[in-house]
Amino acid sequence: MNGNNAQPLVTCRDVVKTYGSGNAAVQALRGVNLDVYPGEITMLVGPSGCGKTTLISIVAGILRPTSGGVQALGTELARMSSWRRTAFRRTNVGFVFQQFNLLPALTAAENAAVPLVIQGYSKRAALRQANELLTKMGMADRGDNLPGQLSGGQQQRVAIARALVHHPKLLVCDEPTSALDNRTGHTILELLREIAIEGDRAVMVVTHDPRIFEFADTLARMDDGHIESTERVRERALTA
Protein backbone atom coordinates (compact mmCIF):
# COMPACT_ATOMS: atom_id res chain seq x y z
CA MET A 1 0.00 0.00 0.00
CA ASN A 2 1.33 3.46 -0.84
CA GLY A 3 1.33 6.49 1.30
CA ASN A 4 -2.07 7.73 0.05
CA ASN A 5 -3.80 4.40 0.76
CA ALA A 6 -4.84 4.28 -2.93
CA GLN A 7 -5.73 1.00 -4.59
CA PRO A 8 -3.06 -0.29 -6.96
CA LEU A 9 -3.82 0.16 -10.66
CA VAL A 10 -1.80 -2.92 -11.53
CA THR A 11 -1.28 -5.98 -9.35
CA CYS A 12 1.10 -8.79 -10.25
CA ARG A 13 0.90 -11.98 -8.22
CA ASP A 14 3.35 -14.89 -8.58
CA VAL A 15 3.92 -14.02 -12.21
CA VAL A 16 6.03 -16.58 -14.03
CA LYS A 17 7.11 -16.28 -17.64
CA THR A 18 8.94 -19.03 -19.44
CA TYR A 19 10.22 -18.74 -22.99
CA GLY A 20 10.66 -21.93 -25.02
CA SER A 21 10.07 -25.43 -23.73
CA GLY A 22 11.91 -28.55 -22.63
CA ASN A 23 15.66 -28.24 -22.28
CA ALA A 24 15.59 -24.94 -24.14
CA ALA A 25 13.15 -23.37 -21.67
CA VAL A 26 14.27 -20.06 -20.17
CA GLN A 27 12.49 -18.69 -17.13
CA ALA A 28 12.44 -14.89 -17.47
CA LEU A 29 10.19 -14.26 -14.47
CA ARG A 30 10.13 -16.52 -11.41
CA GLY A 31 7.13 -15.51 -9.34
CA VAL A 32 7.00 -11.73 -9.41
CA ASN A 33 4.74 -9.79 -7.04
CA LEU A 34 4.32 -6.07 -7.64
CA ASP A 35 1.76 -3.34 -7.07
CA VAL A 36 1.72 -0.26 -9.28
CA TYR A 37 -0.20 2.75 -7.97
CA PRO A 38 -1.86 5.59 -9.84
CA GLY A 39 -0.28 9.02 -9.52
CA GLU A 40 3.14 7.45 -9.06
CA ILE A 41 6.23 6.53 -10.98
CA THR A 42 7.25 2.92 -10.42
CA MET A 43 10.76 2.19 -11.64
CA LEU A 44 11.99 -1.28 -12.51
CA VAL A 45 15.76 -1.41 -12.24
CA GLY A 46 18.28 -4.18 -12.49
CA PRO A 47 20.94 -5.72 -14.72
CA SER A 48 20.29 -6.68 -18.32
CA GLY A 49 18.35 -9.93 -18.68
CA CYS A 50 16.83 -9.74 -15.22
CA GLY A 51 13.27 -9.70 -16.62
CA LYS A 52 12.38 -5.98 -16.51
CA THR A 53 11.25 -5.79 -20.11
CA THR A 54 9.34 -9.06 -19.84
CA LEU A 55 7.54 -7.71 -16.79
CA ILE A 56 6.45 -4.43 -18.38
CA SER A 57 5.44 -6.34 -21.52
CA ILE A 58 3.15 -8.49 -19.37
CA VAL A 59 1.80 -5.52 -17.40
CA ALA A 60 1.11 -3.67 -20.66
CA GLY A 61 -0.78 -6.66 -22.08
CA ILE A 62 1.74 -7.41 -24.79
CA LEU A 63 2.83 -10.77 -23.41
CA ARG A 64 0.76 -13.33 -21.53
CA PRO A 65 2.35 -14.78 -18.36
CA THR A 66 2.97 -18.51 -18.20
CA SER A 67 1.35 -18.56 -14.76
CA GLY A 68 0.28 -16.14 -12.08
CA GLY A 69 -2.16 -13.27 -12.20
CA VAL A 70 -1.94 -9.75 -13.55
CA GLN A 71 -4.78 -7.39 -12.73
CA ALA A 72 -4.74 -4.07 -14.53
CA LEU A 73 -7.56 -1.55 -14.17
CA GLY A 74 -9.70 -4.27 -12.69
CA THR A 75 -9.17 -6.63 -15.59
CA GLU A 76 -7.35 -9.95 -15.42
CA LEU A 77 -4.89 -9.73 -18.30
CA ALA A 78 -3.54 -13.27 -17.97
CA ARG A 79 -6.79 -14.81 -19.10
CA MET A 80 -7.53 -12.38 -21.92
CA SER A 81 -7.42 -13.44 -25.55
CA SER A 82 -4.83 -11.83 -27.79
CA TRP A 83 -7.56 -9.83 -29.50
CA ARG A 84 -8.89 -8.46 -26.20
CA ARG A 85 -5.42 -7.63 -24.95
CA THR A 86 -4.89 -5.62 -28.16
CA ALA A 87 -8.12 -3.74 -27.45
CA PHE A 88 -6.99 -3.23 -23.83
CA ARG A 89 -3.69 -1.72 -24.94
CA ARG A 90 -5.44 0.46 -27.51
CA THR A 91 -7.54 2.13 -24.81
CA ASN A 92 -5.64 1.91 -21.54
CA VAL A 93 -1.90 1.86 -22.17
CA GLY A 94 0.50 4.49 -23.42
CA PHE A 95 4.01 3.53 -24.53
CA VAL A 96 7.26 5.43 -24.49
CA PHE A 97 10.05 3.51 -26.16
CA GLN A 98 13.81 3.66 -25.74
CA GLN A 99 14.44 4.57 -29.39
CA PHE A 100 11.24 6.66 -29.54
CA ASN A 101 9.94 4.53 -32.47
CA LEU A 102 8.40 7.51 -34.18
CA LEU A 103 7.30 6.93 -37.77
CA PRO A 104 9.95 8.83 -39.75
CA ALA A 105 7.60 9.80 -42.59
CA LEU A 106 5.02 11.35 -40.27
CA THR A 107 5.28 14.82 -38.75
CA ALA A 108 5.46 15.26 -34.98
CA ALA A 109 1.73 16.00 -34.78
CA GLU A 110 0.87 13.04 -37.00
CA ASN A 111 3.02 10.76 -34.86
CA ALA A 112 1.33 11.99 -31.72
CA ALA A 113 -2.06 11.38 -33.34
CA VAL A 114 -1.40 7.72 -34.19
CA PRO A 115 -3.10 6.12 -31.12
CA LEU A 116 -6.27 8.09 -31.83
CA VAL A 117 -6.18 7.02 -35.48
CA ILE A 118 -5.81 3.43 -34.31
CA GLN A 119 -8.91 3.99 -32.19
CA GLY A 120 -10.78 5.07 -35.31
CA TYR A 121 -10.65 8.86 -35.01
CA SER A 122 -10.63 10.83 -38.24
CA LYS A 123 -7.30 12.30 -39.25
CA ARG A 124 -8.52 15.85 -38.63
CA ALA A 125 -9.90 15.14 -35.15
CA ALA A 126 -6.81 13.17 -34.15
CA LEU A 127 -4.47 15.90 -35.37
CA ARG A 128 -6.42 18.56 -33.53
CA GLN A 129 -6.04 16.70 -30.22
CA ALA A 130 -2.40 15.89 -30.91
CA ASN A 131 -1.59 19.52 -31.66
CA GLU A 132 -3.32 20.65 -28.46
CA LEU A 133 -1.22 18.21 -26.45
CA LEU A 134 2.01 19.21 -28.19
CA THR A 135 1.22 22.83 -27.42
CA LYS A 136 0.78 21.97 -23.73
CA MET A 137 4.16 20.26 -23.85
CA GLY A 138 5.87 23.29 -25.32
CA MET A 139 6.13 21.83 -28.80
CA ALA A 140 3.57 24.04 -30.54
CA ASP A 141 6.02 25.19 -33.18
CA ARG A 142 7.34 21.69 -33.91
CA GLY A 143 4.11 19.96 -34.92
CA ASP A 144 4.92 20.05 -38.62
CA ASN A 145 8.50 18.85 -38.23
CA LEU A 146 9.54 15.35 -39.18
CA PRO A 147 11.25 13.32 -36.43
CA GLY A 148 14.57 13.66 -38.24
CA GLN A 149 14.34 17.43 -37.81
CA LEU A 150 13.92 17.20 -34.02
CA SER A 151 16.47 16.78 -31.24
CA GLY A 152 16.45 13.64 -29.08
CA GLY A 153 14.63 15.44 -26.27
CA GLN A 154 12.03 16.82 -28.66
CA GLN A 155 11.51 13.38 -30.19
CA GLN A 156 10.98 11.91 -26.73
CA ARG A 157 8.45 14.65 -25.95
CA VAL A 158 6.59 13.73 -29.16
CA ALA A 159 6.74 10.08 -28.08
CA ILE A 160 5.29 11.05 -24.68
CA ALA A 161 2.58 13.09 -26.39
CA ARG A 162 1.80 10.02 -28.48
CA ALA A 163 1.61 7.93 -25.31
CA LEU A 164 -0.80 10.38 -23.66
CA VAL A 165 -3.01 11.55 -26.49
CA HIS A 166 -5.67 8.90 -25.92
CA HIS A 167 -5.71 9.50 -22.11
CA PRO A 168 -4.49 6.08 -20.95
CA LYS A 169 -4.40 5.26 -17.23
CA LEU A 170 -1.17 3.31 -17.50
CA LEU A 171 2.03 4.63 -19.05
CA VAL A 172 4.82 2.18 -19.79
CA CYS A 173 8.26 3.68 -20.46
CA ASP A 174 11.20 1.62 -21.62
CA GLU A 175 14.53 3.34 -20.87
CA PRO A 176 13.04 6.74 -21.68
CA THR A 177 16.28 8.61 -20.95
CA SER A 178 18.91 6.27 -22.35
CA ALA A 179 19.12 8.14 -25.66
CA LEU A 180 19.14 11.55 -23.98
CA ASP A 181 21.71 13.68 -22.22
CA ASN A 182 21.49 14.15 -18.46
CA ARG A 183 19.69 17.49 -18.52
CA THR A 184 17.14 16.43 -21.10
CA GLY A 185 16.65 13.16 -19.24
CA HIS A 186 15.77 15.07 -16.08
CA THR A 187 13.36 17.29 -18.00
CA ILE A 188 11.63 14.23 -19.41
CA LEU A 189 11.33 12.62 -15.98
CA GLU A 190 9.89 15.82 -14.54
CA LEU A 191 7.36 15.74 -17.34
CA LEU A 192 6.50 12.12 -16.55
CA ARG A 193 6.11 13.02 -12.90
CA GLU A 194 3.63 15.78 -13.80
CA ILE A 195 1.78 13.39 -16.05
CA ALA A 196 1.54 10.80 -13.29
CA ILE A 197 0.27 13.24 -10.69
CA GLU A 198 -2.02 15.40 -12.83
CA GLY A 199 -3.69 12.53 -14.63
CA ASP A 200 -3.62 10.17 -11.66
CA ARG A 201 -1.85 7.76 -13.97
CA ALA A 202 0.38 4.88 -13.10
CA VAL A 203 3.75 5.34 -14.80
CA MET A 204 6.08 2.35 -15.04
CA VAL A 205 9.65 3.09 -16.05
CA VAL A 206 12.26 0.51 -16.90
CA THR A 207 15.73 1.98 -16.56
CA HIS A 208 19.41 1.33 -16.02
CA ASP A 209 20.07 4.98 -15.37
CA PRO A 210 20.76 5.59 -11.63
CA ARG A 211 20.68 9.36 -12.21
CA ILE A 212 16.91 9.22 -12.52
CA PHE A 213 16.18 6.91 -9.59
CA GLU A 214 15.36 10.02 -7.54
CA PHE A 215 12.22 10.53 -9.63
CA ALA A 216 10.78 7.18 -8.61
CA ASP A 217 8.01 6.82 -6.06
CA THR A 218 8.64 3.10 -5.94
CA LEU A 219 11.92 1.51 -6.94
CA ALA A 220 11.66 -2.20 -7.67
CA ARG A 221 15.07 -3.86 -7.95
CA MET A 222 15.03 -6.98 -10.10
CA ASP A 223 17.52 -9.77 -10.54
CA ASP A 224 17.27 -13.14 -12.21
CA GLY A 225 13.51 -12.98 -12.71
CA HIS A 226 12.72 -11.87 -9.16
CA ILE A 227 11.94 -8.56 -7.54
CA GLU A 228 14.65 -8.47 -4.90
CA SER A 229 13.42 -5.39 -3.11
CA THR A 230 10.75 -2.74 -3.39
CA GLU A 231 11.69 0.63 -1.98
CA ARG A 232 9.36 3.56 -1.35
CA VAL A 233 11.81 6.25 -2.53
CA ARG A 234 9.44 9.19 -2.49
CA GLU A 235 8.09 8.58 1.00
CA ARG A 236 11.65 8.21 2.26
CA ALA A 237 12.71 11.42 0.54
CA LEU A 238 9.72 13.29 1.93
CA THR A 239 10.35 11.88 5.42
CA ALA A 240 14.01 12.85 5.21
Binding site: I62, Q99, L106
Partner: protein
Protein backbone atom coordinates in the same frame (compact mmCIF):
# COMPACT_ATOMS: atom_id res chain seq x y z
CA UNK B 1 -4.86 4.18 -40.95
CA UNK B 2 -4.75 4.46 -44.73
CA UNK B 3 -3.03 7.85 -44.73
CA UNK B 4 -0.41 6.51 -42.32
CA UNK B 5 0.21 3.58 -44.67
CA UNK B 6 0.59 5.86 -47.66
CA UNK B 7 2.86 8.29 -45.82
CA UNK B 8 5.03 5.40 -44.62
CA UNK B 9 5.31 4.18 -48.21
CA UNK B 10 5.98 7.49 -49.90
CA UNK B 11 8.28 8.61 -47.10
CA UNK B 12 10.84 6.06 -48.23
CA UNK B 13 11.48 7.45 -51.72
CA UNK B 14 14.09 4.92 -52.77
CA UNK B 15 12.04 1.84 -51.98
CA UNK B 16 8.84 3.48 -53.19
CA UNK B 17 10.33 4.22 -56.60
CA UNK B 18 12.08 0.83 -56.68
CA UNK B 19 8.81 -1.05 -56.23
CA UNK B 20 7.04 1.14 -58.80
CA UNK B 21 9.84 0.61 -61.30
CA UNK B 22 9.75 -3.16 -60.72
CA UNK B 23 6.03 -3.34 -61.29
CA UNK B 24 6.18 -0.81 -64.11
CA UNK B 25 8.85 -2.87 -65.85
CA UNK B 26 6.80 -6.05 -65.50
CA UNK B 27 3.69 -4.28 -66.69
CA UNK B 28 5.50 -2.78 -69.68
CA UNK B 29 7.04 -6.09 -70.67
CA UNK B 30 3.81 -8.06 -70.30
CA UNK B 31 1.67 -5.49 -72.14
CA UNK B 32 4.20 -4.84 -74.88
CA UNK B 33 4.97 -8.48 -75.62
CA UNK B 34 1.32 -9.49 -75.44
CA UNK B 35 0.43 -6.64 -77.80
CA UNK B 36 3.11 -7.63 -80.29
CA UNK B 37 1.83 -11.19 -80.09
CA UNK B 38 -1.71 -9.98 -80.77
CA UNK B 39 -0.41 -7.84 -83.62
CA UNK B 40 1.34 -10.83 -85.17
CA UNK B 41 -1.75 -12.98 -84.80
CA UNK B 42 -3.82 -10.27 -86.43
CA UNK B 43 -1.36 -10.18 -89.31
CA UNK B 44 -1.95 -13.87 -89.94
CA UNK B 45 -5.62 -13.16 -90.56
CA UNK B 46 -5.32 -9.67 -92.04
CA UNK B 47 -6.25 -10.76 -95.54
CA UNK B 48 -9.49 -12.30 -94.32
CA UNK B 49 -10.49 -8.96 -92.82
CA UNK B 50 -9.57 -7.17 -96.03
CA UNK B 51 -11.93 -9.31 -98.08
CA UNK B 52 -15.18 -7.53 -97.41
CA UNK B 53 -18.65 -7.72 -98.85
CA UNK B 54 -19.47 -11.35 -98.08
CA UNK B 55 -20.34 -12.92 -94.75
CA UNK B 56 -19.45 -16.50 -95.54
CA UNK B 57 -16.24 -18.18 -96.61
CA UNK B 58 -16.60 -21.60 -98.23
CA UNK B 59 -13.56 -23.80 -98.66
CA UNK B 60 -12.26 -27.34 -98.87
CA UNK B 61 -12.92 -29.12 -95.55
CA UNK B 62 -9.19 -29.72 -95.10
CA UNK B 63 -8.14 -26.08 -95.21
CA UNK B 64 -6.30 -25.27 -91.97
CA UNK B 65 -5.71 -21.55 -92.33
CA UNK B 66 -6.07 -18.75 -94.86
CA UNK B 67 -2.85 -19.48 -96.73
CA UNK B 68 -3.47 -23.23 -96.79
CA UNK B 69 -5.08 -23.29 -100.23
CA UNK B 70 -6.73 -26.55 -101.27
CA UNK B 71 -8.34 -25.72 -104.59
CA UNK B 72 -11.90 -26.74 -105.32
CA UNK B 73 -13.54 -27.43 -108.65
CA UNK B 74 -15.69 -24.84 -110.41
CA UNK B 75 -18.67 -27.11 -109.78
CA UNK B 76 -18.37 -26.38 -106.07
CA UNK B 77 -19.27 -22.75 -106.77
CA UNK B 78 -22.51 -23.83 -108.42
CA UNK B 79 -23.25 -26.28 -105.63
CA UNK B 80 -22.93 -23.47 -103.09
CA UNK B 81 -25.13 -21.22 -105.18
CA UNK B 82 -27.69 -24.03 -105.20
CA UNK B 83 -28.01 -24.20 -101.44
CA UNK B 84 -31.29 -22.76 -100.24
CA UNK B 85 -30.69 -19.65 -98.13
CA UNK B 86 -27.66 -18.52 -100.16
CA UNK B 87 -28.40 -15.18 -101.83
CA UNK B 88 -25.31 -15.17 -103.94
CA UNK B 89 -21.86 -16.76 -104.15
CA UNK B 90 -18.73 -15.72 -106.05
CA UNK B 91 -15.24 -17.05 -106.70
CA UNK B 92 -12.07 -15.96 -105.02
CA UNK B 93 -8.60 -16.95 -106.13
CA UNK B 94 -5.77 -16.74 -103.67
CA UNK B 95 -2.28 -17.90 -104.39
CA UNK B 96 1.40 -17.16 -104.41
CA UNK B 97 3.16 -16.19 -107.58
CA UNK B 98 6.45 -14.61 -108.52
CA UNK B 99 6.68 -11.05 -109.72
CA UNK B 100 9.50 -10.25 -112.10
CA UNK B 101 10.68 -6.67 -112.09
CA UNK B 102 12.24 -4.70 -114.94
CA UNK B 103 15.70 -5.16 -113.40
CA UNK B 104 15.28 -8.94 -113.52
CA UNK B 105 14.72 -9.29 -109.81
CA UNK B 106 11.99 -11.64 -108.50
CA UNK B 107 9.67 -11.27 -105.56
CA UNK B 108 7.10 -13.65 -104.14
CA UNK B 109 3.68 -12.03 -104.34
CA UNK B 110 0.26 -12.82 -102.92
CA UNK B 111 -2.23 -12.80 -105.75
CA UNK B 112 -5.95 -12.32 -105.15
CA UNK B 113 -8.37 -12.92 -108.01
CA UNK B 114 -11.75 -11.26 -107.51
CA UNK B 115 -14.99 -12.26 -109.17
CA UNK B 116 -14.93 -10.60 -112.60
CA UNK B 117 -18.52 -9.38 -112.53
CA UNK B 118 -18.88 -8.12 -108.95
CA UNK B 119 -15.29 -7.55 -107.78
CA UNK B 120 -16.44 -8.75 -104.33
CA UNK B 121 -13.45 -8.66 -101.96
CA UNK B 122 -11.89 -5.62 -103.59
CA UNK B 123 -9.48 -3.63 -101.42
CA UNK B 124 -11.41 -1.42 -99.01
CA UNK B 125 -8.98 1.53 -98.94
CA UNK B 126 -7.76 2.87 -102.27
CA UNK B 127 -4.89 5.38 -102.19
CA UNK B 128 -4.47 5.84 -105.93
CA UNK B 129 -6.64 4.84 -108.92
CA UNK B 130 -10.07 3.29 -109.11
CA UNK B 131 -11.19 -0.23 -108.36
CA UNK B 132 -13.22 -0.35 -111.55
CA UNK B 133 -10.02 0.02 -113.55
CA UNK B 134 -9.40 -3.63 -112.68
CA UNK B 135 -11.65 -4.40 -115.63
CA UNK B 136 -8.88 -3.17 -118.00
CA UNK B 137 -6.64 -5.85 -119.54
CA UNK B 138 -3.72 -6.98 -117.37
CA UNK B 139 -4.80 -4.57 -114.66
CA UNK B 140 -3.76 -5.08 -111.05
CA UNK B 141 -4.03 -3.11 -107.83
CA UNK B 142 -1.08 -3.39 -105.47
CA UNK B 143 -0.85 -2.58 -101.78
CA UNK B 144 1.31 0.38 -100.83
CA UNK B 145 3.66 -1.62 -98.62
CA UNK B 146 4.23 -4.10 -101.42
CA UNK B 147 4.93 -1.29 -103.85
CA UNK B 148 7.51 0.18 -101.47
CA UNK B 149 9.07 -3.26 -101.11
CA UNK B 150 9.37 -3.78 -104.86
CA UNK B 151 10.37 -0.24 -105.75
CA UNK B 152 11.79 1.29 -102.59
CA UNK B 153 13.23 4.34 -104.27
CA UNK B 154 10.14 5.32 -106.24
CA UNK B 155 7.02 7.23 -105.39
CA UNK B 156 3.96 5.02 -105.93
CA UNK B 157 2.38 5.67 -109.32
CA UNK B 158 -0.18 4.21 -111.66
CA UNK B 159 1.03 2.68 -114.89
CA UNK B 160 3.96 0.83 -113.40
CA UNK B 161 4.51 -2.54 -115.04
CA UNK B 162 5.97 -5.84 -113.98
CA UNK B 163 5.58 -9.51 -114.93
CA UNK B 164 3.91 -12.47 -113.32
CA UNK B 165 4.28 -15.86 -114.97
CA UNK B 166 5.73 -14.15 -118.06
CA UNK B 167 2.64 -12.03 -118.39
CA UNK B 168 2.81 -8.24 -118.10
CA UNK B 169 0.76 -6.71 -115.32
CA UNK B 170 0.00 -3.00 -115.14
CA UNK B 171 -0.71 -1.27 -111.86
CA UNK B 172 -4.00 0.67 -112.11
CA UNK B 173 -4.38 1.40 -108.45
CA UNK B 174 -2.58 1.50 -105.12
CA UNK B 175 -4.44 0.42 -102.01
CA UNK B 176 -3.78 0.01 -98.33
CA UNK B 177 -4.01 -3.59 -97.22
CA UNK B 178 -3.50 -5.20 -93.85
CA UNK B 179 0.10 -6.19 -93.34
CA UNK B 180 0.57 -9.86 -94.13
CA UNK B 181 2.38 -12.35 -91.96
CA UNK B 182 4.80 -13.16 -94.81
CA UNK B 183 5.27 -9.46 -95.65
CA UNK B 184 4.81 -10.21 -99.37
CA UNK B 185 3.21 -7.64 -101.67
CA UNK B 186 -0.53 -8.14 -102.17
CA UNK B 187 -1.81 -7.87 -105.74
CA UNK B 188 -5.53 -7.72 -106.56
CA UNK B 189 -6.86 -8.56 -110.00
CA UNK B 190 -9.86 -10.16 -111.62
CA UNK B 191 -10.34 -13.91 -111.21
CA UNK B 192 -9.87 -14.74 -114.89
CA UNK B 193 -6.90 -12.41 -115.08
CA UNK B 194 -5.36 -14.04 -112.00
CA UNK B 195 -5.41 -17.42 -113.70
CA UNK B 196 -3.16 -15.97 -116.40
CA UNK B 197 -0.65 -14.80 -113.79
CA UNK B 198 -0.13 -18.29 -112.32
CA UNK B 199 0.87 -21.63 -113.85
CA UNK B 200 -2.16 -23.62 -115.05
CA UNK B 201 -3.68 -26.14 -112.67
CA UNK B 202 -6.65 -28.44 -112.97
CA UNK B 203 -8.49 -26.94 -110.02
CA UNK B 204 -8.01 -23.25 -109.20
CA UNK B 205 -10.96 -22.13 -107.09
CA UNK B 206 -9.49 -21.21 -103.72
CA UNK B 207 -12.58 -19.95 -101.91
CA UNK B 208 -16.21 -19.21 -102.51
CA UNK B 209 -17.49 -16.02 -100.94
CA UNK B 210 -21.19 -16.23 -100.19
CA UNK B 211 -23.95 -14.19 -98.69
CA UNK B 212 -26.98 -15.64 -96.93
CA UNK B 213 -30.57 -14.54 -97.17
CA UNK B 214 -31.35 -11.64 -94.86
CA UNK B 215 -34.06 -13.69 -93.14
CA UNK B 216 -31.60 -16.41 -92.09
CA UNK B 217 -28.77 -16.26 -89.61
CA UNK B 218 -25.28 -16.59 -91.04
CA UNK B 219 -24.66 -19.61 -88.82
CA UNK B 220 -27.66 -21.38 -90.23
CA UNK B 221 -26.65 -20.67 -93.82
CA UNK B 222 -23.14 -21.95 -93.07
CA UNK B 223 -24.65 -25.11 -91.62
CA UNK B 224 -26.81 -25.64 -94.69
CA UNK B 225 -23.85 -25.18 -97.03
CA UNK B 226 -21.81 -27.69 -95.06
CA UNK B 227 -24.62 -30.24 -94.97
CA UNK B 228 -25.52 -29.94 -98.63
CA UNK B 229 -22.07 -29.59 -100.22
CA UNK B 230 -19.69 -31.26 -97.80
CA UNK B 231 -17.55 -28.12 -97.98
CA UNK B 232 -16.52 -26.08 -94.99
CA UNK B 233 -18.48 -22.84 -94.55
CA UNK B 234 -17.55 -20.33 -91.87
CA UNK B 235 -18.01 -16.67 -91.13
CA UNK B 236 -15.15 -14.25 -91.66
CA UNK B 237 -14.62 -13.99 -87.92
CA UNK B 238 -14.56 -17.78 -87.56
CA UNK B 239 -12.05 -18.04 -90.38
CA UNK B 240 -9.87 -15.45 -88.68
CA UNK B 241 -9.88 -17.50 -85.47
CA UNK B 242 -9.23 -20.74 -87.37
CA UNK B 243 -6.19 -19.08 -88.94
CA UNK B 244 -4.92 -17.55 -85.71
CA UNK B 245 -5.42 -20.79 -83.80
CA UNK B 246 -3.45 -22.65 -86.46
CA UNK B 247 -0.48 -20.34 -85.96
CA UNK B 248 -0.83 -20.59 -82.22
CA UNK B 249 -0.91 -24.38 -82.31
CA UNK B 250 1.59 -25.07 -85.04
CA UNK B 251 4.26 -22.44 -84.43
CA UNK B 252 6.39 -21.57 -81.42
CA UNK B 253 5.15 -17.99 -81.46
CA UNK B 254 2.86 -18.19 -78.42
CA UNK B 255 5.49 -20.16 -76.52
CA UNK B 256 8.22 -17.62 -77.26
CA UNK B 257 6.08 -14.67 -76.36
CA UNK B 258 4.72 -16.58 -73.39
CA UNK B 259 8.27 -17.03 -72.09
CA UNK B 260 8.92 -13.30 -72.29
CA UNK B 261 5.60 -12.50 -70.62
CA UNK B 262 6.34 -15.08 -67.91
CA UNK B 263 9.81 -13.62 -67.43
CA UNK B 264 8.31 -10.16 -67.09
CA UNK B 265 5.92 -11.52 -64.50
CA UNK B 266 8.62 -13.40 -62.58
CA UNK B 267 11.21 -10.60 -62.69
CA UNK B 268 8.57 -8.02 -61.81
CA UNK B 269 7.34 -10.13 -58.92
CA UNK B 270 10.88 -10.77 -57.71
CA UNK B 271 11.88 -7.10 -57.80
CA UNK B 272 8.62 -5.84 -56.34
CA UNK B 273 8.37 -8.55 -53.69
CA UNK B 274 11.97 -8.20 -52.60
CA UNK B 275 11.87 -4.41 -52.41
CA UNK B 276 8.48 -4.42 -50.73
CA UNK B 277 9.66 -7.02 -48.24
CA UNK B 278 12.80 -4.99 -47.49
CA UNK B 279 10.61 -1.94 -47.02
CA UNK B 280 8.48 -3.88 -44.53
CA UNK B 281 11.52 -5.23 -42.70
CA UNK B 282 12.92 -1.71 -42.44
CA UNK B 283 9.67 -0.66 -40.84
CA UNK B 284 9.14 -3.77 -38.76
CA UNK B 285 9.75 -1.91 -35.49
CA UNK B 286 7.23 0.70 -36.53
CA UNK B 287 4.72 -2.04 -37.25
CA UNK B 288 5.60 -3.58 -33.89
CA UNK B 289 5.03 -0.19 -32.23
CA UNK B 290 1.66 0.13 -33.96
CA UNK B 291 0.79 -3.36 -32.73
CA UNK B 292 1.87 -2.46 -29.21
CA UNK B 293 -0.29 0.66 -29.36
CA UNK B 294 -3.29 -1.51 -30.20
CA UNK B 295 -3.38 -1.79 -33.97
CA UNK B 296 -4.81 -5.18 -34.87
CA UNK B 297 -3.39 -7.53 -37.48
CA UNK B 298 -6.29 -6.76 -39.78
CA UNK B 299 -5.49 -3.03 -39.72
CA UNK B 300 -1.85 -3.71 -40.50
CA UNK B 301 -2.76 -6.14 -43.31
CA UNK B 302 -5.01 -3.50 -44.78
CA UNK B 303 -2.18 -0.97 -44.59
CA UNK B 304 0.20 -3.29 -46.42
CA UNK B 305 -2.40 -4.21 -49.02
CA UNK B 306 -3.14 -0.54 -49.61
CA UNK B 307 0.55 0.19 -50.06
CA UNK B 308 0.86 -2.72 -52.49
CA UNK B 309 -2.22 -1.65 -54.43
CA UNK B 310 -0.98 1.92 -54.72
CA UNK B 311 2.43 0.99 -56.10
CA UNK B 312 0.79 -1.58 -58.36
CA UNK B 313 -1.64 0.96 -59.74
CA UNK B 314 1.10 3.48 -60.42
CA UNK B 315 3.44 0.81 -61.82
CA UNK B 316 0.65 -0.59 -63.99
CA UNK B 317 -0.24 2.87 -65.27
CA UNK B 318 3.38 3.62 -66.13
CA UNK B 319 3.89 0.22 -67.77
CA UNK B 320 0.71 0.20 -69.80
CA UNK B 321 1.28 3.84 -70.70
CA UNK B 322 4.82 3.04 -71.81
CA UNK B 323 3.64 0.09 -73.88
CA UNK B 324 0.93 2.20 -75.51
CA UNK B 325 3.38 5.00 -76.27
CA UNK B 326 5.74 2.42 -77.74
CA UNK B 327 2.97 1.07 -79.98
CA UNK B 328 1.82 4.51 -81.03
CA UNK B 329 5.37 5.54 -81.85
CA UNK B 330 5.95 2.34 -83.81
CA UNK B 331 2.76 2.90 -85.82
CA UNK B 332 3.40 6.61 -86.32
CA UNK B 333 6.89 6.04 -87.68
CA UNK B 334 5.67 3.39 -90.12
CA UNK B 335 7.63 0.70 -88.37
CA UNK B 336 6.91 -2.84 -89.50
CA UNK B 337 6.41 -3.87 -85.89
CA UNK B 338 3.17 -5.71 -85.31
CA UNK B 339 1.49 -4.05 -82.36
CA UNK B 340 -2.12 -4.33 -81.33
CA UNK B 341 -3.33 -3.80 -77.78
CA UNK B 342 -6.87 -5.05 -77.35
CA UNK B 343 -8.82 -4.57 -74.12
CA UNK B 344 -7.96 -8.16 -73.19
CA UNK B 345 -4.24 -7.26 -73.01
CA UNK B 346 -5.06 -4.25 -70.86
CA UNK B 347 -7.18 -6.34 -68.50
CA UNK B 348 -4.75 -9.28 -68.53
CA UNK B 349 -1.82 -7.02 -67.68
CA UNK B 350 -3.88 -5.48 -64.91
CA UNK B 351 -4.65 -8.92 -63.52
CA UNK B 352 -0.99 -9.94 -63.75
CA UNK B 353 0.06 -6.78 -61.93
CA UNK B 354 -2.66 -7.45 -59.37
CA UNK B 355 -1.21 -10.92 -58.85
CA UNK B 356 2.30 -9.42 -58.52
CA UNK B 357 0.94 -6.98 -55.99
CA UNK B 358 -0.73 -9.69 -53.93
CA UNK B 359 2.28 -12.02 -54.11
CA UNK B 360 4.59 -9.16 -53.10
CA UNK B 361 2.45 -8.14 -50.18
CA UNK B 362 1.87 -11.69 -48.94
CA UNK B 363 5.47 -12.06 -47.76
CA UNK B 364 5.31 -8.72 -46.01
CA UNK B 365 1.92 -9.50 -44.48
CA UNK B 366 3.21 -12.79 -43.15
CA UNK B 367 6.20 -11.01 -41.60
CA UNK B 368 4.04 -8.38 -39.95
CA UNK B 369 1.51 -10.96 -38.78
CA UNK B 370 4.12 -12.86 -36.80
CA UNK B 371 6.00 -9.89 -35.41
CA UNK B 372 5.55 -9.63 -31.66
CA UNK B 373 4.72 -6.16 -30.37
CA UNK B 374 7.35 -6.86 -27.73
CA UNK B 375 9.91 -6.26 -30.50
CA UNK B 376 9.63 -2.55 -29.67
CA UNK B 377 11.30 -3.20 -26.33
CA UNK B 378 14.35 -4.74 -27.94
CA UNK B 379 16.91 -1.95 -28.03
Amino acid sequence: MSWIALKMLTGNRGKYLGIILGIGFASLLIAQQASIFCGLMLQTSGQIRDIQGADIWVMDPNVQFSDDIKPMSENDLYRVRGVSGVSWAVRLFKGLTRSRLEDGNFQQTILLGLDDATLVGAPPRMLLGNILDLRKPNAVIMDIEGYKLLWPKEEPRIGKRFEMHDKVAEIVGICRASRTFQTFPVVYTRYTQALEFVPPERKVLSFVLAQGSPDLSVTEVCQRIQEQTGLRAVTGMQFEWITMMYFMRKTGIPFNFGITVALGFIVGTAIAAQTFYLFTIENIKQYGALKAMGAGNWSLMTMILLQALLVSFIGFSLGIGGATAFGMYANATGSRLAFYMPMEVFIGTGLAVGAISILSSLLSMQRVMVVEPAVVFQG
